[in-house]
């Protein structure tokens, strides 16, 4: 008897969970993707923190490389590229670094738990007119294997993933 009571209590709970899960999925599917055929990646800004030039350049180059690899956009334009002016459905990615912790590769390898490098970037996708279409904070880390610049690679991969999930 106890067992049947237990089961009868669990079944409605399971049903509720099932339906809420389905509606969440439906909402995800219903989220409209932003139409864009090309993207221009602007040079990385770091007004709030002092980001070394090699990190700025590595982040910029990795962003371009990962966007190209994602194969989501027909064209990936660099900052200053004159051809971007004629592009239709152009999205512009502005990246502003607001947090940076330079770790140490040596410390990471010796201690495993210290010496992580972390970069926090505010990513803003706008259209040509400057209207904001999507904004998100992204963090790139390197915690164990790799040099400090690998944090920029991690961050670029995450940004490319955001572009893939949000743009058509």
């Amino acid at each position: 008897m106890k067992f049947t009571h237990y089961l009868s209590a669990l079944v409605p709970l399971a049903l509720v969970l099932l339906f809420t899960g389905n509606t969440a999925l439906a909402q995800d599917k219903a989220r409209t993707k932003i139409p864009a055929s090309s993207i221009q990646i602007l040079a990385v800004q770091s007004n709030e923190v002092n980001l070394p030039i090699e990190f700025q350049l590595a982040l910029y180059e990795n962003l371009i490389e990962q966007m190209q690899k994602a194969n989501k956009f027909q064209h990936v334009y660099r900052d200053g590229d004159t051809a971007a002016a004629n592009a239709t459905d152009l999205v512009i990615l502005h990246s502003n670094v607001y947090g940076f912790t330079k770790g140490s590769e040596g410390k990471r390898q010796v201690t495993t738990v210290t010496g992580a490098t972390q970069i926090k970037v505010h990513c803003l996708f706008t259209d040509k007119a400057g209207k904001s279409e999507l904004a998100q904070d992204v963090t790139g880390n390197v915690r164990f294997i790799g040099g400090n610049l690998r944090a920029t690679f991690d961050l670029a991969k995450k940004v490319a993933q955001i572009a893939v999930t949000n743009f058509q």
Binding site: A43, P52, I53, E54, Q56, L57, A58, Y60, E61, N62, Y77, R78, D79, G80, D81, T82, A83, E105, G106, Q109, V110, I145, G147, L149
Partner: protein
């Protein structure tokens, strides 16, 4: 004449095995010693192959690692960096990337360290027993970094990062500036900034 040899041969296989084992051991020891010596020598060798940066004469830096940024090259490729004829040239085997010095908007240098034993072998040392990999990662080589920002013909900004042996980045920067590159931080300022930490230590 050969009969005794045959007899010895019959009782000989254990001896032969011992001999071959000894040979292998010797070969291994020699190889290990050679590897250690070559590692030491390579870190001591000055990779800068010359010359005068102030006169605009070609300057080359062997064993320069292109970390990323040059079109058509993979990441972390080691080659030779030249500053000559008004351009920066990076060669790796048959591959050659030329960046006109006039298109270089920024040249900055820095200092860093890297593992003495890097790459795949360095990663594999993590699995060495008794923390051997961690111990090996304590051995680090001091390096200089050279970062450049340049424009392509359509106006797009590119960035490239190189690592050179310690003490070569400033001369590479001088050479690039003499070829027509631009910078926001003069060589003297960067040299002073890099010398400051040393003074503090003293």
């Amino acid at each position: 004449m050969h009969e005794p040899d045959v007899q010895v041969g019959n009782s000989g296989p254990p001896l032969d095995e011992e001999k071959s084992n000894m040979k292998i051991l010797r070969a291994c020891t020699i190889l290990l010693a050679a590897a250690v010596i070559s590692m030491g020598v390579s870190s001591l060798a000055a990779p800068c192959l010359a010359q005068d940066a102030n006169t605009g004469v070609a300057v080359s830096f062997a064993d320069t690692k292109q970390v990323l940024g040059l079109e058509g090259l993979k990441h972390n490729v080691t080659g030779t960096l030249f500053a000559s004829n008004g351009s920066l040239v990076f060669t790796k085997g048959k591959k050659k990337v030329v960046v006109p010095a006039a298109s270089i908007q920024e040249v900055l240098t820095g200092q860093d360290t890297e593992r003495a034993i890097g790459g795949t072998v360095g990663t594999l040392t993590m699995f060495a027993p008794y923390g051997g990999g961690r111990f090996l990662s304590l051995f680090r080589t001091k390096i200089d970094t050279l970062s450049i920002e340049y424009l392509d013909p359509s106006g797009g900004i590119h960035g490239a990062i190189f690592t050179l042996a310690r003490g070569n980045a400033l001369s590479a920067k001088k050479a690039l500036l003499s070829q027509g590159a631009r910078t926001s931080a003069p060589v003297e300022v960067e040299a002073q900034a890099q010398a400051k930490p040393k003074e503090k230590k003293q």
